[in-house]
Assembly symmetry: C2
């Protein structure tokens, strides 16, 4: 048996258990029983070493992160995680690396209640592809396209912390809250499920707040006003850099994997959520500063979108 | 919009249509409606340029092939193809390459009735990951584990042609039947679906006939006798190389993506299928030569398994 067959063996021992798993890894495909009355939500994401995470990120964090970014897509759709597949391209088969990768991956998988049901292992540059399937009651998935004028724009968490954490990591500071935000993003699955029937639109912030809000506006055919003074900030983030660097992280820093959503009229804000703006019919996105006037100079990430 | 955003746009235009597709590409995830009474079958495979196909393989063939190897897994489970996701790592964004890749991919997708419902595009070495989902009536998936002593071992097609085609390709001969077998494998989807309730076990030949038959024997806890004189051969294959090279291609050549299956007692062979051996209770795999005696010197691919 070659080393990659051994890897597959290794994964199989820890995989394949969970609700609806008729047959886990080891055959030509996994066999899964979907829940009656539900629709499936599927997503896939590839992470490349040195591009989507620093080459020296610990293997356990890589394992966690590669699942987290996918689970965050399920959260943004309001879906309950069910099953995932993992395709791993590895330059060599180090047992220590693999053990640590699995520890991180399974720590989040168990927390989220998702079962690894199959995969593939090939020799190549370090790249991780995860495909996730979740379930949502039929017709209840949260889309990007439902935002309507007047809807409140909300977020629960501090956007920009992960970008600040990555910057710290690259400067050699590898402990503390900001670093953890980057290394171990927490997909907001419970929030996503709670938003079904409550949010008119939802997306997860992976490209940056402005860019991802822009996707919602584009898909919904509306515009928005964002109030800079309402943006959540933490002591860790405000103490991290200059006012301009913090603003840039808040508005254009990706990697947070927080949900950004708009509320249907008549619903209260979920616990821990804050309102940061409002949808308007006039297209374009206006970011209003402390003086209530639209900012003119905006960080990168803005260029994708219409000026106000 | 950067070039990779444009690629995603390009894929979206051709994607997202098919049965059960509630929401195609463009949101955080696809939304899909599974068929009542069915189970899902899922598989994922990554192809790396220069490892899983020659670097100079035409883009259209790469597109076809990357879907074909995955559809073949669905065929081996007896599943009907439904939806797929594509994660594409590209060194650059050449419109010509992408157009050709899509032509090959969609040609097979349309033939197989599978809808591309989402994906991811990243900059990196040329690697293609496809995840497929099929459906099968609940409890009817074909497994590797059901072979029983006395069951006939069957195949429909000529194993070894793809391996010969790859060898020809590498020697610069790039037309003809053998080359097409490698470049455009035809997943045996109709056969797989016809085998539900008829085959006791099924696998697709990707590693080579002996290796894949070995997987069936391992999973079923049985052994087998294979009759060399019964192995299908074509004029193209027998005219391609020495007797030994042909034998090696037949027994150890991968890439054919033909179904190898064992029949339940009392069922006739499907059309175009031939019997090449029989399951026995004694473990191990005996390959009987023209004289009815077990071969002793066997090609690579054999070493994974017990000698007879």
């Amino acid at each position: 048996m070659d080393e990659f067959a051994l890897i597959r063996q290794f994964f199989r021992q820890r995989a394949g258990h969970g609700a609806g798993v008729v047959l886990g890894p080891g055959d030509d495909g996994a066999v899964l029983a979907p829940s009656p009355g539900c629709e499936l939500v599927m997503s896939i994401d590839t992470l490349i070493s040195g591009r989507h995470f620093p080459e020296d990120l610990p293997a356990a964090d890589i394992g966690w992160r590669s699942l987290a970014v996918n689970l965050s897509d399920l959260a943004a759709m309001g879906a309950t995680p069910r099953w995932c597949l993992l395709s791993l391209s590895l330059p060599d088969a180090s047992a220590d690396w693999l053990e640590a990768f699995c520890d991180g991956f399974y720590a989040l998988a168990e927390q989220a209640g998702i079962a690894l049901v199959g995969g593939d292992t090939v020799r190549g540059p370090l790249m991780i592809t995860v495909q996730v399937t979740g379930e949502v009651p039929a017709g209840r998935a949260l889309l990007r396209s439902g935002a309507r004028p007047g809807d409140r724009i909300c977020i629960a968490g501090v956007p920009g912390e992960a970008a600040a954490g990555l910057a710290q990591w690259q400067a050699g500071v590898r402990d503390g809250l900001l670093s953890a935000r980057f290394c171990r993003p927490q997909p907001q699955l419970a929030l996503g499920q709670k938003l079904r029937g409550v949010a008119s639109a939802c997306i997860d912030i992976s490209d940056g707040l402005l860019a991802d809000l822009g996707h919602v506006l584009d898909e919904s055919g509306v515009g928005a006003e964002l109030l800079l003074t309402q943006l959540p900030v933490s002591d860790a983030l405000s103490g991290w850099g200059s006012e301009e660097a913090v603003l840039r992280a808040q508005l254009a820093g990706g990697d947070d994997y927080l949900l950004l959503f708009t509320l249907l009229p008549g619903f209260n804000l979920p616990r821990d959520a804050v309102q940061i703006g409002r949808i308007r019919s006039e297209t374009g996105l206006a970011v209003l500063g402390r003086d209530g006037m639209p900012l003119t100079a905006l960080p990168a990430g803005w260029d994708h979108f219409r000026t106000p």
